[in-house]
Amino acid sequence: MPADDSTTDTNATTGRAGLVGLAAEPGVAKPDPILVAHGITRQFGGLKAVDVDHVEVQRGVITALIGPNGAGKTTFFNLLTGFDAADSGDRSFNGRSLKRVSASKVARLGMVRTFQLTKVLSKLTVMENMRLGATGQRGEQIWAAPLRFLWADQEREVTERAMELLKRFKLDAKADDLAGSLSGGQRKLLEMARSLMVGPELVMLDEPMAGVNPALKQSLLGHVKSLRESGMSVLFVEHDMDMVRDISDWVIVMAQGQVIAEGPPESVMGDQRVIDAYLGAHHDTDITELDLDALAAEAEAETLSNRGDSA
């Protein structure tokens, strides 16, 4: 597990402290990267959807991946997690190359993702969803499965751990309900809780705020922050600028498949390249007259109107 908060403060290379004073340039090297991607490209027919030279994700912080629609964020996400194969390039997780490593192996190594359209298993109960997330279960091997005494103890431990997580995410009252009966926001919570069952070091959230009502948004924000406090690293794709500003320690901006800017949230949102990428139509107007909040709001509005086709 990465360093927890107490060491983050004393150690100048890990966590948030390591980001202080870094050059806000695309591809800048991080002092303690958990994930490094290099030379990743992915072509769909004539379209180069992803063309990332170099990008590093710092351990123990919350990193946001933003960009206008069609920037290739979700495709890049799929390439990082092994759900899609890159045409070229490699990525490494904790220094280990992930070339030709299957998506399930990537998850077992500690890099677990969620999905833009939540993938809870709606015909299983909430608890069964959670239990599925636990790794190394003896009862998942076919020869041991019929012999209950071989896995009953482990199942009890898994259930206890699942119940703790459900309590933390305030889903414990729903444990025995079918996951299909949950609301959209609760499904997001369940998916996040379930991914924690795998015991990840890096949690990859694909649009965690999409389709979540404002009340639940606040608690979801709190949960994402708590992942960082408990020592995990988070990389998330998001269109919700409030969320990006509120919780991210570092922002990576993509446009047209490339990383065009990086930096702390305050500075990156004022970056000329980012404004150009989001608001190409406003090139002719004087950029200094535009209020940043309005820009962000406009970008968000565009997102909302196009939600669903941003893959």
Binding site: F83, K105, A107, V120, I142, A145
Partner: protein
């Protein structure tokens, strides 16, 4: 006993019905629990039946090793069907399985006649099995069943009970939980670190082996194996039985298959008697049309079932009604 009770009773419990029960149990693992569309269950039953018959008749293999050869054949067949297709979308498995089943049937119909004897089929492999029968000295029939059938049924229904128990234990284990999750959304399962491909292959092999056991029972019941037993109808009737019982339920294939056979022969008896009464003109109903009419009637019954009870006899309405998409 009147015909309309004794004949459906006989057909519903006969060795042939058992072979369909086992084929449907295999499909229940494939389709009911894992969501794999195997349209070639006939191939697994054929491999079981032919491996047993040919290895005994042509190669003098003892009975038990011949059974093991049949199971091994089913494993190899699953690997041939599964390795290239299980990484792809579900449709590809369906296409490959139906093609493999037809290729196998055509091969045994037209080639290697010294071993497969084409349409005549292979016979003369039941001696050892019959010599173990405790009913050999029995005179006459018991509840309409001959002593030979009774022995096949004793072994066959015992297999059904044991395999149902195994299925019950498996689907209630964490292994079964992974299968049911794959049925719903394999990407979600993959994202949680499970090797989906390996689980699908395991399910295909297990269901295929159960199908091959169905082939053994069918072969022993008929005392011969013929290619015409293993047409695509075999697979589709087994699917029908499974859906009638309610896919994804342990006892669904058993109840579905018995109910299907009993219903089919009940209709044959009733339609036969109806045509003897000559109430209807021969152009609508005569003895030569009964075979087709009863299938039409079963078809209508199935349509009504799908409309009013899509989950089958045992299925859970909630599992059907809630859909995330």
């Amino acid at each position: 006993m009147p015909d309309f009770i004794s004949i459906p009773f006989h057909d519903g419990l006969s060795p042939i019905a058992i072979s369909y029960v086992l084929a449907a149990m295999g499909l229940n693992i494939h389709f009911g629990y894992t969501g794999l569309l195997n349209f070639g269950q006939a191939a697994f039953a054929a491999v079981g039946g032919y491996a047993l018959a040919v290895s005994i008749v042509s190669f003098d293999v003892p009975f038990i090793p011949a059974l093991l050869l049949g199971l091994l054949g089913a494993v190899i067949l699953s690997l041939i069907m599964g390795i290239p297709t299980l990484r792809l979308r579900a449709d590809y498995l369906a296409i490959v399985t139906i093609a493999v089943a037809e290729i196998l049937r055509l091969v045994v119909t037209t080639s290697y006649k010294d071993y497969f004897h084409a349409r005549d089929g292979v016979s003369g492999f039941t001696e050892t099995f019959r010599s173990w029968s405790p009913y050999r000295s029995m005179d006459g029939n018991f509840l309409t069943f001959s002593p030979g059938d009774l022995w096949v049924m004793t072994v066959g229904w015992t297999m059904v009970v044991l395999l149902s128990l195994l299925t019950y234990l498996l689907v209630r284990s964490p292994w079964g939980r992974v299968l049911k999750s794959i049925r719903e959304d394999e990407d979600a399962v993959r994202s949680l670190g499970k090797n989906v491909y390996s689980y699908k292959l395991q399910a295909l092999i297990l269901g295929g082996m159960i199908g091959a056991i169905g082939g053994f029972v069918g072969a022993l019941g008929l005392a011969s194996v013929q290619p015409d037993t293993f047409t695509t109808d075999f697979t589709f009737i087994a699917f029908t039985m499974l859906i009638l019982g309610g896919a994804g339920r342990v006892l669904a294939p058993v109840v579905g298959a018995v109910a299907f056979w009993a219903l089919l022969s009940l209709l044959a008896v009733l339609l036969g008697e109806l045509s003897d009464l000559s109430w209807m003109p021969d152009s609508l109903l005569d003895n030569t049309r009964i075979g087709n009419l009863r299938f039409a009637a079963v078809g209508i019954a199935l349509m009504l079932l799908m409309i009013y009870r899509p989950q089958g006899i045992f299925g859970d309405k909630k599992e059907i009604a809630i859909d995330a998409r």
